[in-house]
């Protein structure tokens, strides 16, 4: 194409002054990419127009700039100088006042939130102490409950033993041998239950003084005039099962050393009773 003719056509001026149609604009922009001389002609006219305008500039009223910059103030990206200015401004009393000058609802909300915080803090302390107290009480209750449960179990066992003893006592095969206190020890009393079928012997120490330390009561069966060891009486509920005694004419209890003796200490005899 003839670029000179195009350049001379007045289209460039029309484009720069914003008077070209959109088709003309598109064409010119395309041609500028293709032909450097067209681009140069365009640039030349722009520079000439700009130089002319600058040389014939009219200074606008000074307040215009102030108004523009005031309107755009919040849009400028702060550089270091401005940041420094802002820091300075923050330190000034004027700005302090602006910080204090909150609007009414904000002040109310701020006050309310501080009060709520204090109340909440107080409640925390109160509830924590309550919590500690309750925890201690709970632990005491758990301990008490365990003790009661243990006691209850002991009672149940005892009760079962008593029931079993009663069952044995009322057994028709059971022979009861009462053993009253011997002369000088009349206050004492014990009972032997002897199963005639199984020959098992049970003792019920109805009334015997607490044995001294290292001492234990021992039951003796008198067989053919001779004492036979029938076992030591340990701490048992109800009836205490003793040794199996096939035959006996008499039963007696002596106080012996712990674990029992081979032969009874006759001076320490407490109770004795004949069979039958």
């Amino acid at each position: 194409m003839n670029t000179q003719e195009y350049i001379q056509s007045g289209i460039i001026e029309s484009y720069v002054l914003g008077m070209a149609s959109s088709a003309e604009v598109a064409e010119l922009e395309q041609l500028c990419l293709q032909y450097p001389e067209i681009k140069k002609a365009l640039n030349d006219f722009e520079l000439a127009l700009e130089a002319n305008a600058l040389s014939k500039a009219v200074t606008p009223p000074p307040q215009v700039k102030k108004q523009i910059f005031a309107a755009l103030q919040s849009n400028f990206v702060e550089n270091e100088n401005k940041a420094a200015e802002n820091t300075k401004a923050l330190a000034s009393p004027l700005n302090e006042m602006m910080v204090v000058k909150m609007n009414q609802p904000s002040r109310f909300l701020a006050a309310a939130s501080i009060i709520l915080l204090v109340i909440s803090g107080g409640m925390n302390i109160y509830f924590y102490s309550k919590f500690k107290e309750t925890t201690q009480q709970y632990q005491a209750l758990v301990l008490e409950k365990n003790t009661l449960q243990a006691n209850n179990q002991i009672m149940q066992t005892k009760s079962l033993d008593m029931f079993n003893s009663m069952q044995m006592m009322t057994d028709p095969n059971m022979q009861k041998v009462s053993m009253p206190g011997i002369t000088g020890k009349e206050a004492n009393y014990a009972t032997v239950f002897w199963n005639l079928k199984s020959k098992d012997v049970y003792i019920l120490p109805n009334k015997l003084p607490q044995p001294a330390n290292g001492k234990q009561y021992q039951l003796w069966a008198i067989v053919d005039g001779k004492p036979v060891d029938a076992g030591v009486i340990s701490d048992c509920a109800g009836l205490c099962k003793m040794k199996n005694i096939p035959s006996a004419s008499m039963f007696a209890i002596t106080l012996e050393k712990l674990g029992g003796s081979e032969t009874p200490t006759l001076s320490e005899m407490y109770v004795a009773g004949k069979v039958g």
Partner: protein, 183 residues
């Protein structure tokens, strides 16, 4: 201080880069450098100092806000700004409030008469002053299209001239104007 400010100078690409980063210093420089030229061009269209100052303010805010849409491959920054200023100034002359004040001043009569009669306006400035150096049949076309913002179609109807003639004459007028600018 004044010396330092005068010494500060940006190349056009530096200036554009800083403007897209919303630098206050660069924008201040832009204003100091171009506000006079743009104010003159607005004034040549609006012909009322108060309205022109308001328009200038509007134009610079637009420039700041729309700097991202400026494409340097399509032309110089000043050309882009000048077009914003021209459009804003034409919008101002077309606003109701502005037309009222102009009527009170009894200036707005027939556009053609106004454009054609050099006696009415003697205080033209800038580009408009140059346009008044053109021969009348060209001058009226530049007046109506550039300063009043009418399309070539509208002008053809208004003046009862074929559209082709409007186009040819206008191009010739702009070429002549180009010469006058360079002088």
């Amino acid at each position: 201080m004044l010396y330092l400010e005068q010494a500060q100078h940006y190349s056009e690409s530096e200036l554009i880069l800083l403007l897209t980063q919303q630098s206050e210093t660069a924008f201040s420089y832009l204003y100091d450098h171009y506000s006079g030229a743009l104010y003159a061009s607005i004034l040549s269209i609006v012909n009322n100092q108060e309205a022109a100052a308001d328009t200038l303010q509007e134009v610079f805010i637009k420039i700041f806000r729309q700097i991202h849409s400026y494409d340097s491959s399509k032309g110089r920054l000043y050309t882009w700004m000048l077009n914003i200023a021209r459009n804003a100034a034409i919008d101002t002359t077309r606003s109701k409030g502005f037309q009222k004040t102009q009527k009170n001043q009894a200036l707005s009569e027939n556009v053609y008469d106004l454009a054609g009669s050099a006696e009415i306006k003697t205080d033209f400035i800038g580009l408009r002053k140059l346009v008044h150096g053109l021969k009348p049949e060209w001058r009226v076309l530049v007046e109506l299209s550039y300063f009043e913002g009418y399309t070539q179609d509208e002008i053809a109807k208004m003046l009862d001239i074929p559209l082709g003639t409007v186009k040819t004459r206008l191009r010739a007028a702009l070429k002549e104007l180009h010469k006058l600018i360079k002088e």
